[in-house]
């Protein structure tokens, strides 16, 4: 077995850090998506923001430009508005409306990609599907405290920090609007504002993760940690922490897998995340099938014991 540090040397650290910094904010916001049953909104947005990304790239010539994030937030909200427009004003149901909206925008984005960035290596179709997480080491370095840090790592670290701060600040509002919109409205938190705020921020995160893992695998980073954590706990705070742990473990295991198999880094991370989810599905303390089965067996056995005890008492 080849370890990442043997294969890539110190670059492996940057890859791991980058993978974790991409996965962490996704896992946090993904937890709220799963709780609010908006998982597939994440799917729709990750595809629907493509025209915004292409336009931003055309104007700034740089995938790391902050303007791209602004454009992403706007186009993400546009996607949700388009979905609402379709299903509110016609009898087309929400699921079909999502399907129509995101495929249309994605197709538009693909054509724009072909039209504007012909032959450009930084943004092409395979980047949309697979991402380029392993390219992080080819970026120019920033020197922080005497250490040369690749630029994308710095931006992702800033974004991850931002996410954590926002989650802490808006924790109560997010908690209440996720579980009881009516109650939260009576407390003065506007559920619709929180909704659009969440969608906008989700778009920002999706776009910044886009370059690393592509439009499809970002869904895995959003949902797998949250779903795995959901199987392990009933408490939101614990769930957020566990989702973060899942993000770290899947980055770490994914890197191992990547070094071992010499295949795509992003898909290796997703596969590792899937393995962790399967583990949680099996032995998650709250909702794992094996745990539930064991609990049932124990309950049955206890029941049996009680019955036999009663019978023997009566016989005496």
């Amino acid at each position: 077995m080849s370890l990442p540090w043997d294969v890539f040397g110190v670059d492996a650290t940057w890859m791991l850090l980058m993978a974790f910094l991409v996965a962490l904010p996704c896992s946090q916001i993904g937890s709220f998506l799963v709780l609010r049953r908006m998982s597939l909104v994440g799917d729709a947005i990750s595809h629907g923001v493509l025209p915004g990304i292409v336009l931003g790239f055309v104007f700034t010539g740089d995938l790391a430009s902050p303007w791209l994030l602004v454009g992403a937030a706007v186009s993400g909200i546009l996607v949700t508005l388009l979905v609402e427009l379709i299903h509110r004003k016609s009898k087309v149901k929400q699921d079909a409306a999502i399907g129509i909206a995101f495929t249309t925008l994605f197709a538009l984005g693909v054509l724009m990609l072909e039209f504007f960035t012909h032959g450009n290596v930084h943004l092409d179709a395979s980047c949309v599907i697979e991402g380029q997480l392993d390219r992080v080491i080819y970026y120019p370095d920033w020197v922080l405290l005497g250490i040369a840090v690749p630029e994308p790592v710095v931006t992702m670290a800033a974004l991850a920090l931002c996410t954590m701060i926002l989650i802490v600040v808006f924790y109560r509002a997010l908690l209440m609007t996720s579980f009881d919109p009516g109650l939260s409205a009576s407390f003065g938190f506007r559920p619709s504002w929180i909704h659009y705020g969440l969608v906008g921020f989700l778009s920002v995160i999706v776009v910044s993760a886009f370059q690393a893992v592509g439009a499809i695998l970002v869904i895995a980073l959003l949902i797998l940690p949250a779903a795995s954590a959901y199987l392990c706990t009933h408490r939101l705070k614990t769930m957020l922490v566990l989702a973060g742990v899942h993000a770290f473990l899947s980055s770490w295991l994914g890197l191992l897998l990547y070094a071992h198999l010499n295949a795509g880094l992003a898909s290796a991370i997703v596969t590792a995340g899937m393995g962790l989810f399967l583990l949680a599905w099996l032995v998650g303390p709250v909702d794992g099938v094996l745990m539930k089965w064991l609990a049932r067996q124990r309950a049955v056995a206890e029941n049996q014991r009680d019955i036999s005890k009663n019978v023997s008492e009566r016989n005496e």
Binding site: I100, F106, E114
Partner: protein, 434 residues
Amino acid sequence: MLTLLSLQSAEIALLASLVLGVACGLLGSFVVVRRIALVGDTLSHAVLPGVVAGMLWSPERDPYVILSLAALAGLLGVVTVQAIVKSTRIKSDAALGIVLASFFGLGLLWKSRARVPGVSDFLFGNAGAISVQDLVTMSVVSLLLVVIVFLLYRPFLVLSFDEGFAKGLGYPVGFLNALFYGLLSFAVVVAMQAVGVILVSAMLVTPAAAASLFTERLRTMTLWSMLIGVLSGGIGCFLSIHLDGLKTGAVITLVASSFFTLSYLFAPQQGVLAKQLRRGRERQRVARENLLKSIYHMMEAEGFRQDGVTKLALAEWRKTDLESIERSCQKLIKAGEAHVGRDALIYLTKSGWRRAVEIVRNHRLWELYLTNQADYAPDHVHDDAEKVEHVLSGEMLRKLEKDLNFPEVDPHGKPIPSVEKTLQELSQEGGTLS
């Protein structure tokens, strides 16, 4: 076969696009009706490991092998979604996301590990790379889909709308569902080669959603959906060939989206425009009827000594300005419900009288109904009656009259006019009606 072999790749692409329009349009209408659009999306991503397996299994790319393995992977994905939802608290949306991303990630990893060439044709769609053999397979599979759906139309119809009812009829629901998802996987794989993983969703959902706005009947919807699918495929492929080889899948999707936009705006019954028009006409009618009612009330207040009213008095009665009364009167006249006499008074025509009496009668009947039968206080019934008076008619009205025993006085002591009697009296007087 000879003629097939001599086809150019552009012609193959065009034929393939038409075929996928049929397959996806057909199954898409069931997808839309069953509200599982996002299951289609998940399925299209989940088939990837199967495609990779198929390519590894048969390096000469035997389309039947690839198709079967891909469909198998798709079915496995659907089964996994159901297993997750059944055995945990995770809701179906998250389960779909999990399966979509996991299967796709696994497929990508396997593909890049095994270095399988040609998979990217499936990922992005490449109509130009479709071989004659592929085309034949696609056509055979699509034909099979059409035949199976045609034969099992009734069970599928019942299953789509009410699974419990289907069970009650004795249909093997589990088997039918498995068959349906199997067929859906086939349709997905057929379309994937031409339009790519992501835009398969569009081929499943968009034509069917456009068709659903045309009709309430599933059979008609299915036909429309297939037609729109075929048109999107054909036009899209044609455009992509002529526009300098733009990505076929994207162009086909945008053509389908244009069809949806057209139907969203202009569908005869369900279109936004038609609805807006209907609502506008409705509002106009209510406004006209309210004016008729006011005229009736004014004449009633005078004890019907006069047949006409002046516009000024009408404006005062309605607490509005002369100008807007002028405008509304013009509309009334245009509708043939009133005319202006030589003395510049507004007179109701026969149909105007009829409608005015009907509205007042509806209003007072409803007020009486609310006070007598629904125990409302008499001073609380007016606002409700203001709305109901415009929609009360036919069967409902007759039932109301019967329940109230053909009353003549409303809860406020005002007479409830009878349409027939009023018209009879009017024609006897001869006045304005002659």
